[in-house]
């Protein structure tokens, strides 16, 4: 390990201990670590934006590239300049033009992607769950796949029924349909509880792996220090 690696490992070890100090409650050491992390992240993002985006993709085409690229690069430069006016209350309206362009493009991309990439494929997947012929193509165990499809279908409908909220119409007594919906909603509640358990397990697994990673790094540092003293 080089000297820089040792410095980095030492800082990592100390900051890890400071984060672990949250175990005894919120304290200044933990908060200092948070502030350092936020500051370093913001600084690094700014450096990346300057050296990876602004200089190579905006300024260099204007000063180095041919005329066509220069003309193409002027438009984002103008829009970026207009966006800076957002910091002034007086001239903020000028920045609405690039802002509307950004919002419009982002919304179009997001909605288009959600429809073609999630909504339609997931609807087809839900419908294909009970398609026996398709199941035979993808899975030899057709019965198990159909059972899986039935469970998913029940879970989907029951979860939707749980989120069915409405008011009593006309007569104050709930009718038979509403009683059915509430009954199915109880089943949906079970599926939702299982889903929350699944989410918790995933988050705990990720956090536990992160803890193991930090412990391994700290142990490696301590073993390296001990190795230096023992040599």
């Amino acid at each position: 390990m080089s000297f820089g690696d040792w410095i980095g490992a030492f800082l990592g070890f100390v900051l890890t201990l400071l984060v672990f100090s949250y175990l005894i409650g919120d304290n200044p050491l933990f908060r200092i670590t948070l502030h350092i992390f936020i500051g370093v992240s913001a600084g690094f993002a700014a450096v990346v934006a300057i050296y990876n985006v602004i200089l190579p993709q905006l300024l260099e085409p204007i000063f180095i590239s041919n005329r066509n690229e220069q003309i193409l690069a002027i438009f984002p430069l103008i829009l970026a300049g207009l966006l800076i006016t957002k910091i002034s209350h007086r001239f903020a309206f000028i920045g609405n033009l690039p802002m509307s362009y950004l919002v419009g493009v982002s919304a179009a991309v997001a909605i288009g992607g959600a429809v073609t990439g999630t909504l339609i494929p997931q609807l087809l997947a839900s419908m294909n769950l009970l398609d026996v012929q398709a199941s035979q193509v993808f899975d030899a165990n057709v019965g198990l796949r159909l059972l899986n499809g039935v469970i998913i279908l029940i879970g989907t409908l029951a979860s939707l029924a749980y989120f069915q909220f409405g008011t009593l119409s006309g007569s104050s007594q709930r009718n038979q349909f509403q009683s059915w919906i509430e009954g199915i909603g109880k089943i949906g509640q079970i599926f939702i509880a299982i889903m929350f358990g699944f989410l918790f397990a995933g988050i705990f697994s990720a956090a536990l792996t992160a803890l193991i990673g930090r412990v391994i790094t700290s142990l490696d540092f301590l073993r390296g220090i001990l190795g230096l003293f023992l040599q």
Partner: protein
């Protein structure tokens, strides 16, 4: 109409008027007040009698007034109050008053608290004065009576209050009329408001105290209100935190137990826990990588944050290792600002054994700005989206292709044999799947999409892998997916360290949840049962 001039002001008045309409002076000085109003005028002093045209002598006063004056002179102190009323002469009491008084003496006094209801009828035994009887008869007449239809009721001198005799009389005196005016046009008159008295007299304004005169109870209320307002502006002191609260103790115990469970396998390097036998998603990824041709081009997205780097690096280590073993050329890219540096770190730390050369075997394109929009631009037109690598190497200087061997003739994303994304954020994962999935849905496209995700992301990405049509072709989830992949291809060095600690940590956490849940539900129940038995036994 005949008119007469006022002797006092000279203005014309009707002959019928007794007094002037303008100055109220008597138009006929010889007429007395009794003739005008039918009521006696209070006796005045000699000067006022002359000025107001009053009685010339006591001989013209009525008898009852003379008697009253004499009685006043005899008993001046008893001129007020009910006793004086009782001693009024019999002539001064009208007939109806005497009737009422006689009836009241013979009857019990009615309950004054009992209300008189509108529907309540007056019994025959109750005699009503004739003037009130007339009013009741008018009220009982059917139909509404307009004001203009009402007959003009003459004021009877018999009715109480209808004559000036019944009005309260304030006798004038020298004191009430004030001083005699000595100068000016009003000389000789009394009761004149002085025009110069207040203005001419220079007085020092009276000194008033500025202090508020309040009672002790008002002062107490003011102090209470002031205290309440002042308390609103003062921050409340935080409640004192107990150093050894139950919550803190539980937190320390759980943290210590988990820490020991994680630390112990790492210290002793036991490696007792076997890797998972089979994972469908990992097996599918293994199959796809095995099918890669030689020098296949693989786009690798590093879209995770440093906080979850340990999990994703451990899960991706065997997969990337396998891809490199296949001799694939890697293009690294990230839609997160932290991604490029994490990609470099990953390549240098975990894959240093492959001796891949930057620019020749792999290229790091760096940060791709613009989020989903930038991703769409890159997927459709990589050459127009990113011009330089993270090291500043120009990427597309050659006409119709790249001068970098890794990129070759890449024109769009479908020119890659595989797209592998390491991701920990649901939105980023969905952006990759939603934007890239439809482009790979064509059966003729041979590009496959593989995701290596954090365990917390599995509920989001699993439906894309399990569904038909399949939007994600291979899925490695968390440490478990990586361990399953490592079991398939070998290379268990890094994961073996993690897997033991992970297994023990998960087991201990499950036991803590189980024990905690049992304690939460069972202990109160047992306590309640024990209390119930204690109550029954005595």
């Amino acid at each position: 109409m005949d008119q007469i001039s006022c002797p006092s002001c000279g203005k014309p008045n009707s002959v019928d008027n007794k007094f002037c309409d303008f100055c109220l002076s008597a138009l006929h000085p010889e007429s007395s007040g009794e003739e005008v109003f039918g009521a006696p005028i209070p006796p005045l002093s000699g000067e006022n009698r002359e000025g107001l045209g009053g009685h010339e002598s006591d001989a013209e006063a009525p008898d009852w007034l003379s008697e009253l004056e004499r009685s006043k002179e005899a008993e001046p102190e008893e001129s007020l109050g009910t006793e004086a009323d009782e001693k009024l002469p019999a002539d001064a009491v009208t007939d109806w008053m005497s009737e009422v008084s006689e009836e009241d003496e013979g009857k019990p006094e009615p309950d004054s608290a009992a209300p008189f209801l509108p529907d309540q009828e007056i019994s025959d035994s109750q005699e009503i004065p004739h003037w009130l009887n007339d009013a009741l008869i008018e009220e009982e007449s059917p139909g509404s009576i307009e004001d203009e239809d009402l007959p003009e009721i003459p004021i009877s001198s018999d009715a109480p209050g209808s004559s000036l005799e019944d009005l309260p009389v304030t006798p004038f005196s020298d004191e009430t009329l004030g001083d005699l005016e000595n100068a000016g046009p009003l000389a000789g008159l009394k009761g004149i408001l002085s025009a110069e008295a207040g203005a001419a007299r220079a007085k020092t304004p009276k000194a008033y105290s500025s202090s508020l005169r309040i009672s002790s109870s008002q002062r107490a209320h003011i102090e209470l209100l002031t205290g309440l307002v002042e308390e609103e502006g003062q921050p409340l002191p935080l409640p004192e935190r107990k150093a050894l609260s139950q919550q803190n103790v539980m937190r320390w115990v759980i943290g210590l137990v988990l820490f020991v469970a994680v630390l112990w396998p790492l210290v002793v390097s036991s490696e007792q826990m076997p890797f998972p036998v089979y994972d469908e998603g990992s097996s599918e990824v293994n199959r796809l990588i095995n099918q890669l041709p030689e020098n296949a081009r693989v786009l690798v997205g590093f879209d995770f944050e440093p906080g979850l780097a340990a999990e994703l690096e451990a899960a991706a280590d065997p997969v990337i290792n396998h891809i490199m073993d296949q001799g694939a050329l890697l293009t690294l890219i990230s839609t997160s600002p932290n991604g490029p540096i994490l990609a470099e770190r990953f390549m240098q730390s975990t894959q240093s054994g492959h001796q891949y050369i930057n620019g020749l075997d792999y290229i790091n394109l760096g940060y791709l700005p613009g989020g989903a929009a930038g991703l769409v631009s890159f997927l459709d037109n990589p050459q127009g989206t990113i011009s330089f690598s993270i090291d500043g190497i120009p990427l597309w200087e050659t006409e119709g292709g790249s001068n970098v061997p890794v990129l070759g003739d890449i024109d769009q994303v479908t020119d890659y044999e595989m797209v592998l994304v390491m991701v920990d954020d649901p939105e980023t994962a969905r952006a990759w799947i939603e934007q890239l999935g439809p482009r790979l849905s064509d059966p003729l496209e041979l590009t496959s999409l593989v995701l290596i995700t954090s365990a917390q992301l599995e509920p989001v990405v699993r439906p894309y892998y399990d569904g038909i049509p399949q939007m994600v072709n291979g899925l490695v989830v968390g440490l478990r997916g990586g361990a399953a992949y490592a079991r398939l291809v070998g290379g268990e060095d890094l994961l073996s360290q993690y897997w033991d600690a992970f297994s023990w940590g998960t087991f201990v956490a499950a036991m803590l949840i189980l024990v905690g849940g049992l304690g939460y539900y069972v202990v109160p129940e047992l306590t309640r049962t024990a209390k119930g038995q204690d109550k029954v036994e005595p």
